[in-house]
């Protein structure tokens, strides 16, 4: 991680709503987090917790899908994004903030060659002419370790494998050297071996180019591999934030702990303990702590009052980060009352 820890992107109390026939869906309900320069922040959560919507809101792409930012602010590189016009946002998209999507099979346009898709953004944001753009496209494909880049540049997406397509997506995203790369489940649709390669590539490119990455995923393995810091989201809110070591060693929210319990273990004989129940319906979230209907530790207070995000003592500080910048917060009444409680302990112990 680079030494410069000034914030690049700061979300403050962001609310996003969608109007549907059934009612208003509060997909994002008061989310705050910060992405610092040169760091990878992973956003983790189940499907439907609002993690993708948040990233779409950063690029202001939700307006075209009948979504609306109702409150809060998004400050990127000193500029407030929520008040910008779509035309001003268009100049930021692809140029300062780029995005890669989940499905490499469908996120490339089938009628254009790989080269045409990469050069489009080059001629748009950097004003390169045909030949310069083509040379740059080949250089970018080489940067993302595309084998035989000079030939691949003239091929169509259907001629490439999934992993190669995701490399092309990354090349397109890197075309204008963005300050922030939003990767929305970049490896979910890929084979495990290819997944590892793509993650490796992302990590390498990040340190080479010094950009920040906002990684959206539900895969804790991916988080452990590439993230510096992690924010866990549940039902439209951030429930816990910490550096990656701290979060894996010392989770302070029962939902985070539940995610770890649902992972298979390679050592010892433990049954998987999935989190009971389902993600609540976004049309009517439970009162108080939104996780309380599924939480084994719930107390009376959880039912009625929303827990604030509270600071916890750091057990595993991130190497090379000043303590002032390395915080652990979680929104849970139980752990705030019993900060020493170990949520990763085996169930017998916990009941005792």
């Amino acid at each position: 991680m680079s030494a410069d820890l000034s914030p690049l992107l700061t979300l403050d109390n962001l609310h996003v709503q969608f109007r549907t026939d059934a009612g208003t869906v509060r997909a994002v309900d008061g989310v705050s987090y910060t992405v610092r320069r040169g760091e990878t922040l992973a956003i983790v959560g189940e499907s439907g917790c609002g993690k993708s919507v948040t990233s779409m809101a950063i690029l202001r792409l939700i307006e075209s899908q009948r979504g609306e930012i109702t409150a809060g602010s998004i400050v990127f590189d000193g500029q407030e994004l929520t008040t910008k016009t779509q035309e001003e946002m268009r100049k930021i998209r692809g140029n300062d903030i780029a995005m890669i999507f989940q499905e490499p099979m469908t996120s490339l346009n089938p009628v254009f060659t790989v080269g045409q898709q990469i050069t489009e953004s080059l001629s748009l944001h950097r004003g390169l002419d045909d030949d310069e753009a083509r040379a740059e496209a080949i250089r970018l494909l080489e940067l993302v370790r595309m084998p035989a880049a000079a030939q691949r540049v003239d091929e169509f997406p259907h001629q490439l494998s999934g992993g190669m397509r995701q490399r092309v997506m990354i090349a397109m995203a890197l075309a204008c050297s963005p300050k922030l790369l939003i990767a929305d489940e970049p490896t979910t649709a890929l084979d495990v071996t290819v997944q590892a390669q793509i993650l490796e590539l992302l990590a390498q490119l990040q340190s080479e180019l010094g950009m920040s990455v906002l990684l959206i995923t539900h895969d804790l393995g991916v988080v452990a591999r590439v993230a510096h810091r992690v924010a866990v989201m549940y039902a439209g809110r951030v429930v816990e934030q910490a550096n990656v070591y701290e979060l894996f060693e010392n989770p302070k929210h029962p939902y985070t702990a539940g995610l770890f319990h649902s992972l298979p273990h390679t050592v010892g004989k433990q049954r998987l303990r999935p989190i009971e129940g389902n993600v609540p319906d976004a049309l009517n979230f439970p009162s108080g702590c939104r996780f309380h209907p599924r939480c084994a530790l719930r107390i009376e207070k959880c039912r009625t009052q929303q827990p604030p995000e509270a600071l916890f003592e750091l057990r595993s500080p991130a190497p090379g980060t000043p303590r002032s910048a390395d915080t652990h917060t979680a929104a849970c009444w139980v752990t705030q009352e019993q900060p020493e409680r170990d949520l990763l302990a085996a169930p017998e112990e916990r009941n005792a």
Partner: protein, 419 residues
């Protein structure tokens, strides 16, 4: 490194599929023999339309008498007395300039080498644009104080008579005439309604004009009608459908209601009424009327396609790259959404030709052009069999051809349809 990466990516790309989407469609299309035959027939029709003056006309390509060499054919191509309709001006210009266009295309193709495929389309588009601009310039009668030279009153020399006269005087005359010696507008009041013979292959109509020549030049009218009318309504339909599908909401509501209102009118009677309202009908009025009344089908097709495609990730990715909405709609989504429209446009050409013939048959077309329907109408009023059979067969043939090609295109674009 490269080799290692290549072997470790499990689903390596299929090297046999080195082709664009269009090339793949063409590969499937080629398997349908009848449709390919149809494409050849359309090619022949286009060639006939362009070469019509060479096949039938009264101006010699080459005329040499008394040591004086002339090429009256070429100046005749732009003589307003020989060719009145704008359609002829367009095709005659094309006849003269086609070798030049082919040369330009070939040179650019040679020079750009293995560059992006888009360049060929750009060159083709530029050539078509240039030709249309040239045609439009040539059609303007007066620009400021400059009079269009094509509009100067010119005389038409009867070279057949001249040759006969010179030969009678004992001069040596060397000449090359078009294949048939009749212009499609040349009337011969004394030779009206002649039956087909070696001289007039398809006979003559009530004003003594050669029906073979009129059939040939009618090909130009029919093809132009088909292409322009369909071009107009595909243009309107694509823009409205794309806006409705992409933006949704109030835009979609208004456009969809507009489509529904338009669909309520029985289209042929609407066309008939509109055509009857225009006093000085030209063939272009007919094209425009057919164009502005038939866009609803295309608009609905495109709207449905856009509804599907706008939420696909490539469209979202294009927006996330910072492209303008116009570019996302027309450059990224449209090529993916246009396939069903191509099929319906091919059928549309056939139906536009049929509609124009029906209008001309009912006497509400443009009476100055050599339209097949107009000859058919003469045949009906004069009760002459060849005046009905010949244009009737021509219309049947062209409409069938376009329908066969449309069918082949539909199968090629949607491989799932084939069982």
């Amino acid at each position: 490194m490269t080799a290692a990466l290549n072997s470790s990516e499990p689903d390596a790309p299929d090297q046999t599929l080195r082709a664009s989407y269009l090339a793949q469609v063409w590969q499937r299309f080629r398997k349908n023999r009848i449709a390919v035959l149809g494409v050849w027939c359309i090619g022949v029709l286009v060639a006939l339309a362009i070469l019509a003056p060479v096949l039938s006309g009264n101006q010699p390509l080459y005329f040499r008498a008394q040591g004086n060499t002339q090429f009256p054919f070429f100046s005749g191509l732009f003589n307003r007395l020989l060719f009145e309709s704008g359609v002829d001006l367009f095709f005659n210009l094309l006849l003269v300039l086609l070798p030049l266009y082919a040369l330009v295309y070939w040179v650019i193709r040679r020079q750009s080498g293995v560059h992006f495929h888009g360049r060929y389309w750009r060159v083709l588009g530029a050539l078509v644009g240039f030709h249309c601009a040239l045609f439009l310039t040539a059609s303007v009668e007066q620009l400021g104080s400059i009079q269009n030279p094509l509009y100067f009153t010119e005389t038409v020399t009867d070279y057949h008579a001249l040759q006969a006269q010179l030969e009678a005087q004992g001069h040596d005359v060397d000449s090359v005439f078009p294949m048939r010696p009749y212009s499609y507008r040349q009337t011969a009041p004394l030779r009206g309604l002649e039956a087909p013979s070696g001289d007039h292959w398809f006979g003559t109509d009530s004003e003594g004009r050669d029906v073979f020549a009129r059939m040939l030049f009618g090909t130009r009218i029919s093809l132009t009608i088909g292409v322009i009318a369909v071009g107009i309504y595909v243009g309107i339909g694509v823009v409205l459908g794309a806006l409705a599908g992409y933006f949704g909401g109030a835009v979609d509501m208004w456009i969809s209601r507009m489509i529904e209102v338009m669909i309520c009118f029985p289209s042929f009677f609407l066309i008939l009424t509109l055509a009857a309202l225009i006093e000085q009908r030209s063939i272009f009025h007919v094209m425009i009327i057919i164009g502005v009344t038939s866009w609803t089908g295309v608009a609905r097709l495109i709207r449905a396609e856009f509804l599907k495609h706008k939420s696909l990730e490539y469209a979202q990715a294009a927006i996330a790259l910072g492209l303008t909405q116009t570019r996302v709609i027309f450059v990224h989504i449209l090529p993916n959404a246009i396939a069903p429209v191509l099929v319906s446009a091919t059928f549309g050409i056939a139906s536009a030709i049929l509609t124009e013939s029906a209008l001309a048959f009912l006497g509400i077309g443009d009476l100055t052009v050599a339209s097949w329907g107009e000859t058919l109408n003469t045949g009906r009023t004069q009760e002459k069999l060849w005046l009905i059979l010949v244009p009737g067969f021509a219309i049947f043939f062209v409409v069938s051809i376009f329908n066969l090609v449309g069918e082949g295109l539909r199968d090629a674009l949607d491989p799932k349809l084939k069982t």
